[in-house]
Amino acid sequence: MEYRAKLIIPEGVRDLLPEEARAFRKIERRIMDFFVKWGYEEVITPTFEFLETFQQGALRDQESLYKFIDRRGKILALRPEMTTPIARLVATSLRNRPLPLRLCYSARVFRYELPQKGRWQEFQQLGVELLGDGGKAADVEVLALAIEVLLLAGVRDFRLGLGQVAVTKGVLAALELPEEGVEEIKGALLTKNLVKLNSLIEHYGLKGQKRKQLEALATLRGEKEVLAWAREGGLPEGAASALARLEEVWRELVACGLGNWVFFDLGILRDFDYYTGIVFEGYAEGLGAPLCGGGRYDGLLERFGYPLPAVGFALGLERLLMVLGERGEERKGFLVAGPSFPEISARAREVRASGVPAVLFLGEDRALAEEQARKRGLSLLWVE
């Protein structure tokens, strides 16, 4: 069999054809412009960095990283997400900038996935980070921005699920179980394996309030239900104050007229060890995976020697395009043709100056030019 590797591309990566690239860039530009209008400044970081840097953030899982070795034997990795590089950047080069810092990005990120999973190994993430403000207003700003961006992009049917990892952390800490038991229960909560959670509750003989609280964590959702649970009392100190914060943030969102887009789900934990407060995920009708996600990560910057609270979110552009089902606008413009190249060239420049694309016809045959214009959806501009 002839080896065809030169003609194919690896699993999990893809080419974007002109129409797809047009749709991709159009929506990317709109969203980035929107971030900038909110005061977020774009930063660009390297595609690869030292492995140690990425190991400070979420996705520490070595298996999901694309790693390679430079000529001096240092281990490098392709970036799997943008928050960690930005934390590194802020802790080094942006240390003296006034706080809070608002930064945004649009970048290709890379994750190793088993090919049969049918997931992209390279994809585009757009996101923001709000650094240096630990207050609830910062949580509200980032959530509001996430909602407004999805509205701007034209996603009609979406909701943000709002959780708070500190509630779960508080309940887990109060279980008084050996570390191994806490890890197992955490694992069952993280993967929402209710069957395993029940068997662990039995195994560790958890009863009364502890049992009820764990079951509530796994299944409780909806504003009314969660808030009623908070009012019941009996929650460990850390969990109670975390819930109070969640309620405050939610009330602000409602006051801003954005309440319809969010719902409570304490089962949303995302990268549990990395996030410290509010977490959220955006879901759209017809998409089997979250469209966007984020939360508060007050511990990350400290790992780079610059303790700073921070909150942010990222959205996957490919997933967004899938939801929108967009193919991009029709191509518009002129095919400028004629016997004299200097003249068509001058005319094309005028057309472009008015903001309309002008394509040069590389020939002199008018009939051929007409045919080419028709085939490409351009209007013919014949310059004698």
């Binding site: 049918g118 909701r159 699920g161 993967t191 929402k192 394996n193 209710l194 069957v195 395993k196 029940n198 959702r221 719902f263 789900d265 949303i268 995920e281 879901y283 759209a284 009708e285 017809g286 998409l287 089997g288 995976a289 979250p290």
Partner: protein
């Protein structure tokens, strides 16, 4: 139009049990067959679509959101490691994931697992990830040979030293002169959910989950009462 809820149902023995559970739960079931050419059954009035899948494919349909809910054996879930929510133990389809060896080899190991599980074993299985993880935890590097069926043939044919497979009664093992030496875990059918559906369509899913939960409990109670 009413939003449809899609349920992935496995073919085979698990499928039959699933249908009787649906019936017990008061969910539509009439005319549904798991061993038929028809693979999609819709009940527009009740708002259900059933997909009849190969058991190993159920987690994939649910993970990607092609189905909101699905029914899959724990053995299949452990192998697939799909990113899905595991909501209920339905109690049927009981089997165990075991390590089994030819009787002669077991006698040579003088009936001791530690004599048997040595590095370099050749392990034939339909469950390469489960097998690899088990031997990894034992600290034994082994060679995993992926097969698609009739695993018990492999040791007899000299393809492998041991097998990792599911057993329910143990008859097949006996007939092939194999001895079960380790039980890795026991498995039953589970109700799984797509993680976005579970959150976006919760109001739609919740009554169905509750009905299946009640039906599974009823079924269990009946079995206990009968025995």
């Amino acid at each position: 139009m009413k939003k449809m809820l899609t349920l992935a149902i496995p073919k085979g023995k698990l499928g039959e049990e699933t249908l009787s559970l649906l019936k017990r739960a008061g969910l539509p079931w009439e005319g549904v067959a798991t061993e038929d050419r028809q693979l999609i059954f819709t009940f527009p009035r009740e708002g259900f679509t059933y997909l009849i899948c190969r058991p190993v494919d159920v987690p994939t349909y649910v993970e990607h959101g092609a189905a909101d809910l699905g029914i899959a054996g724990k053995d299949v879930l452990a192998e697939a490691r799909a990113d899905v929510f595991e909501l209920l133990d339905l109690g049927f389809g009981f089997c165990r994931m075991v390590v089994a060896v030819p009787r002669q080899r077991w006698e040579e190991a003088r009936g001791k697992v530690e004599n048997l599980l040595v590095a370099g074993l050749r392990v034939a299985t339909k469950y390469p990830r489960v097998a690899a993880e088990f031997f990894h935890r034992q600290g034994k590097p082994v060679e995993i040979i992926k097969l698609y069926g009739n695993i018990e043939l492999a040791p007899q044919a000299g393809l492998a030293d041991v097998i990792v497979d599911i057993v329910s009664t143990g008859r097949t093992l006996k007939e092939n002169n194999l001895v079960e030496v380790v039980s890795i875990f026991s498995s039953t059918a589970r109700l799984i959910a797509n993680r976005v559906s579970y959150r976006m369509a919760y109001n739609l899913l919740e009554p169905v989950i509750e009905a299946l939960k009640k039906a599974a409990e009823e079924r269990r109670d009946n079995l206990v009462a009968r025995s």
